[in-house]
């Protein structure tokens, strides 16, 4: 008979072999030991091994079929949606009246040049106005910074 205490010592140090661990399990399962703590642990390990799986596997074939079917269905649905959108776009482009744009059309090249010139001049004016405001704001910020520095220094 093996010395249980020595085996246990080895066990807690992680030095026992599988056979020695099995021996310990058998020992604590068949004997009433004064070492309740160790007995509880080894009996727990033995009990845990009795847990079994009672569930049923859903046929993997069916599952895979479902996955493939879903994927194919999604692809088909996407194609239908894309075709539908293409059809609607085609009809929209075909049916859109161009009449509301016709009234803005300038046929005289001289007049068109004049209008473009005026538009560019307006753009330049507004750009300059924005630039002036920006430079004024920068100047104001600089003034504030100088005041802050003076306050800090005093």
């Amino acid at each position: 008979m093996k010395d249980i205490n020595k085996l246990l010592e080895k066990y807690w140090e992680g030095e026992t072999t599988l056979d020695e661990e099995k021996y310990l399990k058998e020992h604590f399962a068949s004997n009433k030991s004064s070492d309740n703590k160790s007995q509880a642990i080894f009996n727990y390990f033995r009990e845990e091994k009795r847990i079994s799986y009672h569930g049923k596997f859903k046929s993997p074939k069916n599952n895979i079929f479902k996955i493939n079917f879903t994927r194919e269905f999604a692809i088909a649905a996407s194609i239908v949606i894309l075709l539908g959108l293409a059809f609607l776009m085609r009809n929209y482009v075909k049916d859109t009246p161009k009449s509301h744009l016709v009234k803005y059309e300038v046929k005289d090249p001289q007049k068109a040049k004049e209008i473009t010139k005026n538009a560019l001049a307006l753009l330049a004016r507004n750009y300059n106005k924005g630039e002036t405001t920006l430079s004024e704001n920068i100047k104001n910020i600089n003034k504030i910074n100088i005041i802050n520095t003076l306050i800090k220094n005093n």
Partner: protein, 165 residues
């Protein structure tokens, strides 16, 4: 393929249950494992150590599941008030009268690596080499994990009041 799964299903289930601590999660993992095996098709037959392969897949699926559950708990304020069944709360462990439940809670409160080695070594009685293959670590690390897991178990038992049994 089906015969293999039927022969080892209990072992895979126990492993998933140990890691997730939840029967529903373990059930789902079993279904996912079956699908993965089926998807492998003929390649599954070529796997040298099918049991180790399945245990590794079970472990990975369980870790994924734990991560997802944790994320869900963080996201939901409601769930934040729920105490999970693995009870990291030592008071909960002490409250439990049933010895087996106490031990189960104690092991559940351990880090994943330690739970894994306890399940594989103490319950499934696997060799260090088999455990190393499943966990994809070297033998030395397996020995270290087993040593530390046992020390932790010893310590947890002392702290939890099991010594008074």
């Amino acid at each position: 393929m089906e015969n293999f799964l039927l022969a080892y299903k209990d072992k895979f289930y126990r492993f998933a249950l140990r890691l997730t601590g939840d029967r529903d999660d373990a059930d789902d993992i079993m279904q996912e494992l079956a699908i993965k095996i089926w998807k492998k098709g003929e390649d599954f037959e070529k796997i040298e150590n099918k049991e180790a392969w399945c245990m590794t897949v079970t472990r990975n699926l369980s870790i994924d599941r734990i991560r997802k559950n944790k994320m869900r708990e963080h996201e939901s304020i409601k769930d934040a008030y729920k105490v999970s069944s693995d009870s990291r709360n030592p008071e909960k462990i002490l409250e439990s009268d049933d010895l087996m439940t106490k031990l189960k809670h104690l092991i559940s409160s351990m880090p994943e690596n330690y739970k894994t080695v306890i399940q594989l070594r103490e319950i499934e009685e696997m060799t260090y080499k088999e455990i190393a293959e499943i966990m994809d670590i070297d033998l030395h690390k397996v020995k270290v994990y087993i040593f530390r897991a046992r020390k932790m178990l010893q310590q947890l038992i002392l702290n939890s009041g099991l010594k008074r049994i």
